[in-house]
Symmetry: C2
Subunit: 231 residues, 2 copies
């Protein structure tokens, strides 16, 4: 686990953000499981900041959608917004920002792979936004999201990532019952910085390869590979 000072340096270098109140930053990366393990120290965990971060994220995405799609009715904007801010999407941005190594987790959570769990990573992303809102104001949250998140929404990157497993299944099922298996064939790097290699097998035959910082991403890559190869 890297330190708070490392994190603040990283934020400064990569995003031009220097927190004045480091305790906010610490709270944002503290999972309930860690706070529970250190009850006597009365450590704050990130759920309250997540509440705030969720609200500021919703607003900024709403404003973005309102301006980008002047003709979309409210219902369509609402659907798009919920796609953008769903757990897996936020977890992806948390990974892309390299937040995982800075999470403070309880021992049980760490053992069971919490550091790469979408709920934990997504919540931490929101909590970080909440901390940033309190420390630097909404303009900073906006600038951060327009740097880190919104360009990828534009490219539809995350929407695509989610589609390949379903797409592969749809293509293959035309020929009747089939078995599609995703198998992790290699796992390298330290706990907080793993890379997974995944094969997708159709009725036992390897039809695609993928890799990524989570099994989910590696599986999607493998499915994409299979779809694009026409296997």
């Amino acid at each position: 686990m890297k330190t708070l000072t490392d994190l603040n340096k990283k934020l400064q270098v990569e995003f031009g953000i220097g927190f004045d109140d480091l305790s906010l930053l610490e709270t944002a990366f503290t999972h309930t499981s860690y706070a529970n393990e250190h009850r006597l120290l009365k450590i704050s965990h990130n759920e309250r900041l997540e509440f705030l971060g969720d609200a500021v994220l919703q607003l900024i995405i709403s404003q973005y959608l309102y301006q980008k799609y002047p003709d979309k009715p409210e219902g369509d904007m609402s659907k798009l917004r919920s796609t953008f801010v769903r757990e897996e999407s936020l977890a992806g941005f948390s990974r892309a920002c390299g937040f995982a190594p800075y999470l403070k987790l309880g021992k049980g959570e760490e053992k069971s792979g919490g550091r790469d769990r979408d709920t934990i990573l997504g919540d931490a992303f929101e909590a970080f936004l909440g901390a940033l809102l309190l420390d630097k104001g909404i303009e900073s949250v906006e600038a951060f999201l327009y740097k880190v998140m919104i360009p990828h929404l534009e490219q539809g990157t995350f929407a695509k990532v989610e589609d390949y497993k379903t797409k592969l299944q749809e293509i293959l099922q035309v020929n009747g019952e089939i078995d599609i298996d995703y198998v992790v064939v290699d796992e390298t790097g330290p706990a907080h910085d793993k890379v997974f290699q995944v094969e997708v097998r159709v009725n036992g035959r390897v039809v695609g390869h993928g890799q990524g910082r989570s099994k989910k991403i590696a599986e999607q890559q493998a499915a994409q590979h299979a779809v694009e190869q026409g296997n």
Copy 2:
């Protein structure tokens, strides 16, 4: 129906808000029913602004709760927030701001009492916040809500208003089956500025009086009167 210029004057005098883009203000007060009746004119209605206003309202209330209740867990703040921003509450603030006369409604909606309907008034309140956000920025929305809405949340006014009908029922039901009726005994003023007089009767006997700009408010006042009198 009063004009847009009247509305802008009123906002200036009562809240110190002068819109630069009056078309935003117009859209905020235009119900879908009005836009549908004038399809050929391609008039914008307020649903997209409501989408934006809802998001900015959620954020400002979240920040308020975060700061006011440093020890409340996320779940409690979430419950409080949804109480504060529920339809009847927002409709109440819309009435308190005197927004009803400025609504643009379709003829059918007008005839069926849409000008005093909670959904329409609540949505217009949110749409107004959306328009204010676009025209003047989030600080203005915050200032407006801290003037118009938040002091009443503090006093629990709106929470209380909702409780008296239930409270009266609970008190009276201890003595077995009873009939509680709320009867409108008088209705004064023009369509957009009505005052309702309501009596609450228990097994036919009048036990409380109330008045208000909507039947709901008048009923709650009557129930409160009955509870406080110990009738």
